[in-house]
């Protein structure tokens, strides 16, 4: 009993113990903050990566795509109805994005999607800006520009379908805070077409005197990555300078079936900006635009082409997204689809063209995790690396505790002699110091967990406060990073691990001093005052 009693007594009567507790606390807090922020970063990336794709993806592995995607989609729906809910093809191309009213251009990755199916297989719809407040109004088909009526009394009315869509959203939205926020930001607008657009707001529409209407030529819609077209503000929201429906253009360079450029000049495609997409991954939001699948397939020369002999080439896509039954385990589903793909290929005609046979070669059946594997693995490694670095720094705490306990043992040599003269064993004395270190570790870990958790939970407020004092102190800028905020989630399992390691480390740090204490010879220790 004396071990526990004295360990607890030394804890609050020895100032030096507070330093030991302080060092454990700081190390625990430091490692916890790093693990939580990096872990939060990784989890967000993982969740958002998942939201970009379907569960299973057939990937062509090349820009010129692979044939028979549609046939395989039908094959899957027919042969594996218990596995596959939906399939939808995707085309990836590259082009130059331009807003004709300005001279502004950007290189963009052009993603061809079937909007209606695409939003069913992933979370794409959740990141759309206008679709949220005007549900059912975003599409990629031919459309005109919505022009709001701008009454002389200052009232603004949108075209009827938008007005009704907004009313539907209000009726369905359960979060009153979101509605209140919407109310707090009434429609801001760009004056069009007579006055140069300067208005900046959350939802930008062109407006003019007269009735609300749709105007301009019909063009295919384009959804633009939010960072590509807009300016990200410090608060994580965007300045939108282009009204919904603004004319934009893409210049595309089609590839031949064998992946060579066709030699033709780039194809200019006029489009209408209908929405912007926010996946939360900057590299995507700053680079991708989404257009209608069939339109892009045709412009990129991936549709069936008539051959000189009167036949047709096969249509191509770069990916086939496969939405699987939620009850199925991901990798089990992949295995079945992989088998189905092998089966399907074996049933293809033997006289495939050289280009088609070549294009089918590199097609892989992947889970969304595997597809994003390199990206996620890089961040996972970064998390492990940073955690190891900080854990190594925290090893200093073990050395520090060793030093502190050595000092305590040196100062307590006489007490150790007294205890031994009263009947304490060497193991008992060593145990007392190890318990003492464990208590230091426990108290330090608890305080460190509280401090670390409090820091992580308030990390954005702390950063804002620091940035108020000096803008240079803002280390996490939404204008740079993919996320608006530093992750603020502390996982219980991380806390348990960090605390356990800290307690064991504290005990490890006390081992040598405890051994020294156990070797104290009571006769020597008590000889002199």
């Amino acid at each position: 009993m004396y071990k526990w009693f004295l360990a607890s007594r030394y804890l609050y009567t020895k100032l030096i113990a507070l330093f030991a507790i302080g060092s454990v606390m700081l190390c625990v807090a430091m490692v916890l903050v790093v693990m939580s922020v990096m872990g939060g970063f990784l989890d967000t990336i993982r969740a958002r990566s998942r939201g970009l794709h379907s569960e299973i993806v057939l990937d062509s592995g090349s820009l010129q795509g692979f044939p028979y995607y549609a046939e395989f989609g039908e094959y899957l729906m027919r042969e594996l109805p218990d596995v596959v809910d939906l399939t939808t093809p995707v085309i990836y191309s590259y082009g130059i994005f331009r807003v004709p009213a300005t001279t502004w251009t950007r290189l963009a990755r052009v993603v061809g999607i079937r909007y209606g199916d695409y939003i069913k297989v992933n979370d794409f719809e959740e990141g759309l800006h206008y679709e949220r407040y005007f549900p059912g109004t975003t599409h990629l088909g031919l459309q005109q520009m919505p022009v709001a009526s701008f009454g002389e009394d200052g009232t603004i009315r949108l075209p009827r379908d938008l007005q009704e869509a907004n009313a539907r959203w209000r009726a369905q939205e359960t979060d009153q805070e979101v509605i209140a926020e919407f109310e707090a930001h009434p429609f801001e607008y760009a004056i069009y077409p007579d006055v140069v657009s300067t208005a900046v707001g959350e939802r930008v529409f062109a407006a003019e005197l007269g009735p609300a209407r749709y105007a301009g030529p019909e063009r295919y819609g384009i959804i633009v990555g939010c960072d590509l077209l807009n300016e990200r503000r410090e608060d994580g929201n965007f300045n939108r300078y282009n009204a919904r429906g603004t004319d934009v253009a893409l210049a595309l360079m089609p590839l031949s079936r064998t992946g060579t450029t066709s030699g033709e000049p780039p194809i200019r495609v006029p489009l209408r900006y209908v929405d912007d997409s926010r996946t939360g991954i900057f590299e995507i939001d700053d680079f991708c635009v989404y257009v209608d699948f069939e339109m892009l397939q045709q412009k990129a020369a991936m549709d069936p082409q008539e051959l000189a002999d009167g036949g047709f080439t096969t249509a191509r896509a770069n990916q086939l997204l496969v939405d699987t039954n939620d009850d199925l385990e991901l990798y089990a589903a992949r295995e079945r689809i992989e088998s189905a793909w092998a089966e399907f290929r074996s049933e293809l005609p033997a006289d495939l063209s050289f280009a088609d046979a070549q294009a089918l070669g590199p097609v892989r059946v992947l889970t969304w995790e595997e597809l994003q594997g390199d990206f996620i693995a890089a961040i996972e490694k970064e998390k492990v690396l940073v955690t190891i670095l900080f854990a190594l720094i925290s090893m200093v705490a073990i050395v520090l505790i060793g030093c502190i306990f050595y000092m305590i043992v040196e100062k307590k040599t006489r007490d150790i002699g007294i205890l031994k003269s009263l009947g304490a064993s060497s193991a008992g004395v060593a145990g007392m110091f190890i318990i003492y270190a464990a208590v230091v570790g426990i108290v330090g870990s608890i305080l460190g967990s509280v401090a670390g958790t409090a820091f992580v939970w308030n990390v954005n407020s702390i950063q804002d406060w620091l940035a108020q004092m000096n803008p240079q102190l803002r280390v996490w800028s939404p204008t740079i990073y993919s996320f608006d905020k530093i992750p603020e989630v502390v996982k219980q399992v991380d806390v348990i691990w960090v605390c356990a390691v800290a307690i064991v480390s504290s005990m490890a740090g006390s081992l040598i001093p405890a051994w020294i204490a156990s070797r104290v010879w009571p006769v020597e220790a008590l000889r002199y005052e």
């Binding site: 009993m1 004396y2 009693f5 006489r414 007490d415 002699g417 205890l419 009263l422 009947g423 006769v523």
Partner: protein
Amino acid sequence: MSKKALLGARGVHKSYVMGRSPVRVLRGASLSVQEGEFLAIMGSSGSGKSTLLHILGALDVPDKGSVTFRGEDIFGMGGAARRVMKSREIGFVFQFYHLLPECSVLENVLMPRMMLHSFWSWQSARRRARRETMELLGRVGLADRAKHRPNELSGGERQRVAIARALANQPSLLLADEPTGNLDAVIGSEILDLLAGLNRAGQTVVMVTHDARVASRAHRCVQLGDGIIREAGGPSGTDALAPVATREVTR
């Protein structure tokens, strides 16, 4: 009626290395202590009194010779058995009190009892131990100082606490190493009165001292010189001690 030997030492040798040369402190010291006896071991400074006391109390190990407690060789026991025996049967009082400064008087006195308990067994034993310890503090006149820290006490009070701590487990044998060596004459006399009173109540006491007046309070006195024990008044005896040395234990 002949008394039973509580403690016996036979041919105890002990040497230390000082610098490069060994110093033979004990050269075959032999001694027998009867139950209920108050024995004083006298000797000049550096004669090995404390070394002998430490060996008798199993704090130190002899190079040669044996020490028996109730007829059992204490250095023939296993380490754990010796520690338990030491905790239960032998109480130590030191010249410099050697109290734990972070603990109160009560906690210092409770410490030997705590050593006999695990964390869990102490939970059930604690109440009784506190009550008995308070009674013990009452016997040494410190019941009202139970919550004080050692640095809030006088030298005499500290030595009383040390005596109470030595008696915490109701040991058969109390070993006192110069118990008055750090106290003035008046306070020292009070401490000796306390030891004498305990002895009258049946406590066996072995005390080492270099002071003949202190030794005179014992029933019997032996002289430690040249590493061996001689009855006082013997070959290197002190005349002043002769009456004490030859006095019979009368209890």
